[in-house]
């Protein structure tokens, strides 16, 4: 059914894209290493060759011919380098070629992922590679216009003859024995074999037929005579069929069967004849060089060279040692999402059961014990499911090395990228969303931040610029930080630009440094005037802001003229199931993450004091803590206004402690955290003190307090 085959094709394509991307990542790592150490080892060459070969094979299976052709030509180049064991390869140029090919492949795959045709023209790239190969072959004369593939084919044969140890078969073998009287009982045949269209390597297929037949016949001639040395043999076989002339005692049917056992044989014409000598002589005359070779038995062919045996043993040992390959399976993300949702619902349903109003007031020891066990198991389940979705951020960061390398080259700058916190695990959504913003910011750092070598020397800075990419886990959030030691942001310039574009939210004098720097995140800030080739292609930091917004993150920028810039991105781990304490304020129920709670109590009037500004504070064990009234903070109606009639919950975030005033504490509950809906992100909710939403057991929604956010406001 077409439906089935469509899904099959889709799956194949997904597999292809996945594997090719992996291969490319590996390839880039190798190239970056080669460039860093300025040397290309034999192992490197083999690996590059193998990866190109694999991509060529897979892409041709998927009928992406331009990629297949491009990788094929690179494969040829590296084959040559490998065979000739070239020492003086221009590393720079070669790596560039490979990087260019990678870019081409990525580009085509991108098209396919977007359901477009992979219609890129590979010719310019292939031409580039061909010329490079020609140069390698004739360092003095770069004008060689030979078809490099043919050349390589010839050399393949030559070279392999040299290195051949076990297999000594060089040309066509012929059985040739004298005709003796006993032969007269046998029958002579002529046969013509046609192979299926486009089954490829027809000369070798003909060779297979010869081999299959050899043991059953006494005399064997064939046309074309030369199957391997002659490039035209394949063509001749395809056009005219493969002719055989032989003598045998075996019955017709047997011989026909034998001819038929070869793969991809389409047509067999088998005829008993009285003599074929004349025909054979004709053919032999037509050939110019004819060699009569000893018949080689199979035993000889498989003769092993002791060195070869040793090499095999070494190979096998290596395989056994390389057992550190990770045991990984790839899982469809949709299945993971379904699993997450299901686990979330189990949490809610568990509450609905164990905290069911029907059970209020009953003595349920046995039930409670079972409920605790259920809770414990659910916790474990959650942890594991959560951890499956979490992926290390390392690989995403790692991709930036290539970007830095490219930018360095194109802008003639020297900057090195340092990465830390690679093991930090983040939800897959976040990984997906971070790629592009990171790319953009790293490009910015190189384009607008890091100065050229001369400028840096003039400023007394180390010639190599430093860009640092960090990931830090702060418990409830992940902090991604990009630091560069470049020329920093120009506060005045930014202010002027913002003024020009009517983007100033308040008067110049009232703006703090950080607020000014953050202006570059506003849509409409980056105008078309300052487009460079890489950053600001009409695309400013506002696009980064948008992407970060989507995952509920916040960006903050700081900078110092001539010292550098720091960009902090705080991303809440919103895909979570947390322990929360429910509190009520008027009609609303808020949830405070249990991890932030220190204690809670009913305050006494005598302990409540006011500071000079009129802000309420409470004395606890000799220390003063500010009080935050949620009804005032959120402009919502609370029922209780007198502090001593409500509850104070002491919370802490990064060294800052304060008290949240609520009407009442309802109870502890595990809640599923859902992010604030996309539509609402245009409003300032994130900075208002709300971290996300929680769906309670009774299907009501409770807003989760962002304790860290509120702490900052105090």
């Amino acid at each position: 059914m077409s439906d089935e085959s469509n899904t099959f094709n889709e799956q194949m394509m997904e597999m292809f894209i996945f594997e090719t991307n992996q291969a490319i990542e590996q390839l880039e790592d190798i190239l970056l290493q080669i460039e860093k150490e300025s040397v290309m080892t034999e192992e490197n060459i083999n690996e590059i060759f193998r990866i190109m070969h694999t991509i060529k094979g897979s892409s041709s299976m998927m009928m992406i011919t331009n990629v297949a052709k491009a990788t094929h030509s690179l494969e040829d180049l590296f084959f040559f380098v490998r065979e000739k064991q070239l020492q003086n390869v221009d590393l720079d140029a070669t790596c560039d070629l490979v990087f260019n090919t990678i870019d081409f492949i990525n580009q085509e795959i991108s098209k396919i992922e977007n359901k477009q045709q992979a219609d890129g023209d590979e010719e310019p790239l292939v031409e580039q590679i061909r010329r490079a190969l020609a140069r390698l072959k004739n360092p003095g004369n770069a004008k060689e216009q030979e078809d490099t593939h043919e050349l390589e084919m010839k050399e393949t044969n030559e070279n392999s003859e040299r290195e051949d140890q076990g297999v000594t078969d060089q040309t066509v073998k012929k059985h040739f024995i004298e005709q003796t009287p006993e032969v007269l009982e046998k029958q002579r045949y002529i046969a013509k074999v046609h192979f299926e269209e486009d089954c490829k390597m027809e000369n070798i297929r003909a060779f297979t037929v010869v081999r299959n037949l050899a043991d059953h016949v006494d005399e064997l001639h064939h046309n074309p005579i030369e199957l391997f040395e002659d490039e035209n043999s394949t063509k001749a076989i395809v056009e005219n069929g493969f002719d055989l002339f032989f003598t045998t005692a075996e019955p017709y049917d047997n011989i026909f069967q034998i001819l038929d056992t070869s793969l991809f044989v389409e047509k067999i014409q088998l005829e008993q004849v009285d003599s074929y000598d004349a025909l054979v002589k004709q053919i032999e005359k037509a050939q110019q060089d004819e060699e009569m070779v000893q018949v080689e038995t199979e035993d000889e062919l498989i003769k092993e060279d002791p060195e070869e045996i040793l090499q095999e043993k070494v190979n096998l040992q290596n395989v056994i040692n390389v057992g550190k390959k990770k045991n990984i399976i790839s899982v469809n993300v949709e299945k993971m999402d379904l699993l997450m949702d299901l686990v979330g619902e189990i949490v809610i349903t568990e509450s609905m059961v164990t905290k069911n109003p029907d059970l209020a007031g009953l003595e349920l020891d046995s039930f409670n014990k079972a409920a605790r066990q259920l809770r414990k198991l659910n916790n474990e389940l959650q942890d594991i499911v959560m951890s499956i979705r979490m992926i290390e951020i390392g690989p995403t960061f790692h991709k930036m090395h290539r970007i830095v390398r490219d930018m360095n080259k194109k802008l003639n700058k020297k900057a090195e990228l340092f990465i830390s916190g690679e093991e930090t695990e983040v939800d897959k959504n976040i990984i997906d969303a971070l790629g592009e913003p990171l790319l953009h910011m790293i490009r910015n750092a190189l384009d607008h931040g890091i100065e050229t070598e001369e400028e840096r020397i003039a400023k007394g800075k180390p010639t190599e610029g430093k860009i640092q990419l960090e990931a830090i886990n702060t418990g409830g959030d992940v902090l991604i930080r990009i630091t560069d030691d470049g020329k920093g942001l120009d506060r005045d310039q930014i202010l002027q630009k913002a003024k020009r574009n009517l983007l100033l939210p308040k008067s110049e004098e009232d703006m703090t440094d950080k607020e000014v720097y953050n202006l570059i995140l506003l849509p409409g800030f980056s105008t078309k005037e300052d487009v460079t080739e890489f950053s600001g292609r009409g695309v400013g930091m506002d696009v980064v802001q948008k992407s970060i917004d989507k995952i509920g993150g916040v960006i903050q920028i700081d900078s110092k003229m001539n010292e550098g810039t720091i960009i902090n991105i705080k991303i809440p781990l919103t895909l979570a199931i947390i322990d929360g304490m429910k509190i009520s304020v008027g009609q609303s129920i808020f949830t405070i993450p249990t991890t932030t709670i220190r204690e809670s109590f009913k305050p006494e009037k005598k302990d409540i004091i006011k500071d000079t500004a009129g802000n309420e504070m409470i004395l606890i064990r000799g220390e003063c803590y500010p009080i935050v009234r949620l009804d005032q903070l959120f402009d919502m109606k609370g029922y209780v206004s007198e502090l001593e009639k409500g509850i104070l919950v002491v919370v802490e975030s990064e060294e800052v402690s304060f008290c949240v005033f609520a009407d009442d504490i309802i109870g502890e509950q595990q809640v599923v955290v859902k992010p604030i809906p996309a539509y609402l992100r245009q409003y300032n909710i994130k900075n208002s003190g709300i971290a996300g939403c929680a769906i309670l057991g009774n299907a009501d929604i409770s807003l989760i307090l962002d304790i860290a956010g509120i702490a900052e406001k105090i």
């Binding site: 099959f8 799956q11 194949m12 597999m15 292809f16 996945f18 594997e19 090719t20 193998r50 070969h53 694999t54 060529k56 094979g57 897979s58 041709s60 299976m61 009928m63 297949a68 094929h72 494969e75 040829d76 084959f79 593939h149 390589e152 084919m153 393949t156 044969n157 392999s160 297999v167 078969d169 089954c199 490829k200 390597m201 000369n203 070798i204 060779f207 297979t208 081999r211 391997f228 056992t261 070869s262 793969l263 991809f264 199979e298 062919l301 498989i302 095999e312 190979n315 096998l316 290596n318 395989v319 390389v322």
Partner: protein, 118 residues
């Protein structure tokens, strides 16, 4: 029921070949290997009826693996999977006892035809 062992270093190829083969009820893929050495080990372990063998692989290539398998079992039926440009290795494989070969890219009908004949 013909039991097949697929040996290829590209997961994509193993996946594709397996999917193609298993459409026919009389075939069952009993194992996969990502290099020649593992292929030989699996041959020993599983004793399949047919082996599809990729030619270029790391650790131990298809030709080597073929030879090893033939040593274990002279009657082993091995189908070499090759790409253009590997004529020498294909030829050597035939000499070393491979039953036949198929060239990438190939469509489903071609490989099924080859397997049926082997």
């Amino acid at each position: 029921m013909k039991r097949v062992l697929i040996v290829d270093d590209a997961a994509f190829m193993r996946y594709t070949i397996k999917a193609m083969i298993e459409k026919k009820e009389e075939y069952e893929v009993v194992g996969e290997a990502e290099n020649g050495a593992i292929g030989v080990a699996k041959y020993k372990e599983l004793a399949p009826d047919i082996v599809t063998m990729d030619i270029t692989m790391p650790e131990m290539d298809g030709l080597q693996a073929l030879k090893e398998i033939k040593k274990l079992d002279p009657h082993a039926k091995v189908l070499m999977v090759s790409a253009m440009g590997q004529e020498k290795l294909v030829k050597d494989s035939i000499i070393s006892g491979a039953k036949g070969f198929i060239v990438k890219p190939f469509k489903e009908d071609k490989i099924m035809e080859a397997l049926a004949k082997i």
